[in-house]
Symmetry: C2
């Protein structure tokens, strides 16, 4: 069956890529104060695009930081669902520049890919949505669904002002569901829906021993060594089978159903040994590495330091020892509760003769999971499969995306993480790129998806 919107998009691919080039050529590096004008320019690019294709209430909203672009088109009527589309127009810095083959802000096509900072994360994927909306407008004079667009400019600096905006504009932004295209496939050309993210909580602890570094000969044998005390505490947190030993850590964990274990088994797994360089993968006893990374909570040491770090030997007993720890959480686990349990464990396992100082990481996130059988997910998967010609897999990810938790918490609506990136896109690194084919097939996916939802409500 011929699809005139898709035909239109395919016929105009070249022109769309040219417009995308303009978008990618703006160095909207949110972390760099010297790029403030370019960040505004990128926001205006989005505003003008939405304005031109017929969106309403198009505005660049100030946030206290970089602005956010809002627009809506609600002409599909009350019988069509309303989607909140989230994305971001800001990008990571391009350094180190010398490692780029072509210039980061002069997009170049090579070997079937478009190379530019932001090609995948997230300008390229935001642009696909804009182009699809335009094609619908051109062909049908309308969209199959109601749309609210929220494209922010601070994602790469932690979405500093977004939470406040989402709370404040709750009425304006409220929708039936949210779609975010800021993630990717587990493998090239493998349609992938992300249906779960981990939460996290973190802390840092410092063990204070003697008031200054001591001569290890004169004082060794009289005082507790803070580095050794830290080693005792850290090693008590997790056993060699990668099972967290903190009392109650797993108590609230939603058990992994057989259905989910099968879903996970079906995902073409990353070759962890190849990508990380380890000689052997290790995972929690009773779970595969895929299950552990996607769907089981973890506790990791992110850094430790104590005493002498230079060349050779310095025979001291260090005055202090510090460790940084984060936990990745799964549905059921409350970040603050887990943080408290870990703190209690650390306190109980700190030996006598040293003083313990704990700093809680103030940021935390709850895990997010949507039912992979939810109709909005099912339809997204069907559209994805149809466009790419391959069965969609459903994955959970060990990472956390704060905006997902915030939308979940504040708006309490399902979130469809429909991303078209690939593991080879080199996000945040030199030579970021995006497969040209995925622009086309990704747009097709979106067309199918929006069309499928029009029959639905």
């Amino acid at each position: 069956m011929s699809n005139k919107v898709i035909n239109y998009l395919n016929e105009h691919q070249e022109e769309y890529l040219e417009v995308l080039n303009d978008f990618l050529s703006i160095p909207s590096v949110s972390t760099d104060p010297n790029s403030n004008e370019d960040v505004k320019k990128a926001a205006n690019f989005v505003r003008e695009y939405l304005d031109r294709i017929g969106f309403e209430k198009v505005e660049v909203q100030s946030t206290g930081g970089h602005p956010l672009v809002y627009a809506e088109w609600l002409g599909a009527g009350e019988n069509a669902p309303t989607v909140l589309l989230y994305g971001h127009y800001d990008v990571q810095p391009a350094d180190p520049l010398e490692l780029w083959t072509s210039e980061p802000f002069k997009p170049e096509q090579r070997d079937g890919r478009l190379y530019a900072r932001g090609a995948s994360d997230d300008k390229g994927q935001v642009f696909m949505h804009l182009a699809v909306f335009e094609a619908f407008m051109e062909m049908d004079g309308k969209l199959p669904i109601n749309v609210k667009v929220c494209i922010e400019g601070e994602e790469e600096i932690g979405s500093e002002n977004l939470y406040a905006v989402l709370e404040e504009k709750k009425e304006q932004f409220q929708a039936d569901f949210a779609v975010i295209s800021d993630s990717g496939m587990v493998a090239e050309n493998q349609p992938t829906i992300l249906y779960g993210l981990k939460g996290f909580t973190g802390l840092e602890f410092t063990i204070h021993g003697p008031s200054s570094d001591l001569h290890s000969g004169i004082y060794g044998g009289a005082v507790r060594n803070p580095a050794m005390a830290m080693a005792h505490v850290l090693s008590s947190l997790k056993d060699k089978d990668e099972v967290v030993q903190v009392d109650g850590f797993y108590d609230q964990v939603d058990p992994l159903s057989e259905v989910e274990r099968e879903l996970i088994a079906d995902v073409p797994g990353e070759d962890f040994k190849a990508t990380t360089g380890v000689t052997k993968t290790v995972s929690e006893k009773g779970f595969t590495a895929k299950e552990h990374t996607m769907a089981r909570p973890t506790l990791e040491i992110n850094g430790v330091y104590s005493g002498y770090q230079g060349e050779g030997t310095k025979t001291i007993i260090p005055s202090t020892a510090t460790a940084k720890i984060t936990c990745r959480l799964v549905p059921g686990q409350e970040p603050e509760h887990i943080q408290d349990l870990v703190i209690k464990h650390i306190e109980e396992h700190t030996p006598a003769g040293v003083k313990l100082d704990i700093k809680k990481e103030p940021l935390s996130a709850k895990a997010y999971k949507v039912d992979p059988d939810h109709v909005l997910i099912k339809k997204a998967a069907e559209s994805y499969t149809k466009a790419f010609g391959k069965e969609t897999v459903f994955v959970r990810m060990g990472g956390s995306i704060p905006v997902v938790e915030w939308i979940d918490t504040i708006y309490n609506m399902p979130i469809v993480l429909l991303g078209f990136g690939t593991p080879n896109d080199r996000l945040h690194s030199p030579n970021e790129s995006f497969p040209l084919e995925n622009f086309q097939k990704g747009m097709e996916t979106l067309v199918y998806y929006w069309q499928s939802l029009n029959e639905n409500k």
Copy 2:
């Protein structure tokens, strides 16, 4: 009974202090290449002094580094013993200068102390020997014993060239015993003979995990965290009772006799809590902190580092983790054997999934101990007691002094560690000083000691 040598010294204290001021005013900082001329100047000061008071074969010997001053006076005849006097004329840097109350190289008397870099370590103590020799020469025209003097200029930089010199000049330097005044009392005005030093051995190990730092969300659960692996290894080395868990670590340790435990109990112990700021001392199960620091082997972590050390949180799995360890050894323990045992333990306790890399510290030292009942020690203690009016205590120290092991190994002669410093001298720190009273009483001690030995052989 009046002692004319002591009387002479007491009458000329002021003049001696003035000459000492000249010596202390030379910034002979051996580690600083800009001080090379001053280092030579200090060597010449010693050479000229010995030459002037009648020593023979006085020479500044080149060593490949800073020179060594050698001189001898063998006129006491074959029936008197020959002592090798070791000391050093080089000093530590004075930085940070702003923390000195008076200038480090402009000696100043305050509150009964002489403040200057080197006042205690070791120019002040070397000078006491020179002054005592001079007084004997002035009063008796001779010394009661035969003397060989070896004053080096590289002690503060690890005596880099001394071992080779001691080996090469074995015939020239050989004596019946050695005396070193480069240590101190356990408390102010507490005559102290050091009769044992610990040895040491060290190593550094690095645990290699993934080839670069990894995203803890995406990879947490699939790879072994090197920092956690390191914590498991480190914590296995010593239990919470401070007992080293390395197989065979204590096998060759000479047991601590009841006699020695009593000697140690008699030493007025340092108030470890006051000097180190810890809330509680800890020591090996079954031993006091004094016993553990003086006479039991220890294993200490000197430094660890892994992953992120900055402010806040960085959610990574570190690529590597490194730890530095040194052991202080007691008589019976072979440094290389202990190093091998620790390495074997680390290898056996490194979990699967990471790679272990071990760097042996090439420097090591055997422990040194002389029988506290040896007649040369007894006589030194009696002289010390007579001069200070207080019973001498016998201590072993947790530190290592390489030259002591070298003299022991190469010359196989007893070494009398007859030091007059105090715990408040602030060696290597700003405001180094030495009690004026100890110059006088220390010189008296030396006079009594040399005189006592003349009746002896």
